[in-house]
Symmetry: C2
Subunit: 313 residues, 2 copies
Amino acid sequence: MSPSTDRHKQRARQWFEALRDDICAAFEALEDELGEEIAETLPIAEELRGLPPGRFERKAWIREPADEAANQAADEAADETEEAHTGGGVMSVLRGRLFEKVGVNVSTVMGRFSEDFAKQMPGAAEDPRFWASGISLVAHLRSPLVPAVHMNTRYIVTTQGWFGGGADLTPMVPDEADTAAFHGAFKAACDRHDPGYHPRFKAWCDEYFFLKHRGEPRGVGGIFYDQLDSGDWDADFAFTQDVGRAFLDIYPKIARRHLAEPWTAEQRRHQLVKRGRYVEFNLLYDRGTLFGLKTGGNVEAILMSLPPEVAWP
Amino acid sequence: MSPSTDRHKQRARQWFEALRDDICAAFEALEDELGEEIAETLPIAEELRGLPPGRFERKAWIREPADEAANQAADEAADETEEAHTGGGVMSVLRGRLFEKVGVNVSTVMGRFSEDFAKQMPGAAEDPRFWASGISLVAHLRSPLVPAVHMNTRYIVTTQGWFGGGADLTPMVPDEADTAAFHGAFKAACDRHDPGYHPRFKAWCDEYFFLKHRGEPRGVGGIFYDQLDSGDWDADFAFTQDVGRAFLDIYPKIARRHLAEPWTAEQRRHQLVKRGRYVEFNLLYDRGTLFGLKTGGNVEAILMSLPPEVAWP
């Protein structure tokens, strides 16, 4: 492993963790803004009365090697005194007034792809060892007027290295201004790097977050990118940072718009049903979820994305 | 297609539909037994007050060909004036006092397996055309003291023909007497046909209804069998009928035991979480669900199995 790659890994990891800290702080500030005064005017008042603003709780986990191959990878790594274990992560979860449940996971894991995965992953056919670090966030809101949101960025290293990620919005009640603001923020972030990025990554997002069995999109999209390796590591890293910053800037603004809006029982019921689609997508199609569950990932962290309350009436 | 096979198809289909009628009648009788007097002593009283006992509503659907291959199969069938369309089914759904949601689907469909499926299905490599008829039931109860239950039996014809199915119980609060009664009923049904069936089909059920990512079983099992073709069609059909009859006999007895038992809010919360595992199993592992969703099956009928209210807290 070249020193330059080690420096890249370290910088990426530190960024994901710093972004997590900033997002957690911004979300806790939103919890504070939804003060008791406001909460008591909402249908959820009774449920919230006496509840303090939500705070993130953190829980670290160590990755359990999925199989013999992973064990072997860990042993070899230990022999080389390069890596003593197979990595792990930290889950940050907040269950609060505004955020019914939001999970922000950071993880840095290393191991050896199974033969099947090695064939699918760039640069892994010749050497199945991998290193991956990333941040992943899913937020489910109490109010059906505040959109659910997902954001994830990651840096993966095999014999090659690339970035991937994106963010997408799932409004429960359509709101064109929210949708336009969300797309606008990511378009601006993309355009600062490459005018071709936004059209391509927006289309990729629409294609990815689509429930084939229902013929319907999960939400209103956003951007999705993968295997980004332009040859200029610093540029790709700067883009990935800007995706994170765009999220950190725009999502609290969208949430803030609807903080004090009361909702109806009918809107809440619709939200619970729409959340069912979210579950269907994540368990049937989401590559990260299926990859994680099949490779011995941390189940609690992976399934943190599932909504706290769901209905299939 | 030999006349004898046509007769087999007809007899199997008629049986599945007759069994559906008997089960619906038995479940509606249970709804009547949970009279207002009882309901008002339960924590759900407020929710149920004024609600009449649940009744099944039926909805027929026609199968939409999934793709070119299916269309072609339908066309060819039409050309041969053998089959005018690709089949369909009838969903029967009851949302009541005892049964929070129970769906009983019968369907009879025909078409052509995709190349991938044809390789996996007995007798389809030489000719990908198939015919399938079956009954499938999933019940989610309001009371966490009454176990959720699943039952499914089917008859599939390619160039070969076989039966498959089973039943399994998912108690939310463990009850050894319920579990013993359920296993006893299917053991008796199996033993009437072959002393080797029960040990084999019970083990198969435990293996099948297992959430690998969590290392936990979905429930307490029951029986599961597939590709049953002993060479004696009448014997295999009689066994499949006995599986249905065993279910029809034992499940109402188990439900009746707990009809008037009050439950706690904590037990209900536990039920909603346990139902999440049910969703995870069906969307991640259940072959019938994934097969149906990938082959253009009726989404509403397939996902009727998902619980009405679920929590991932």
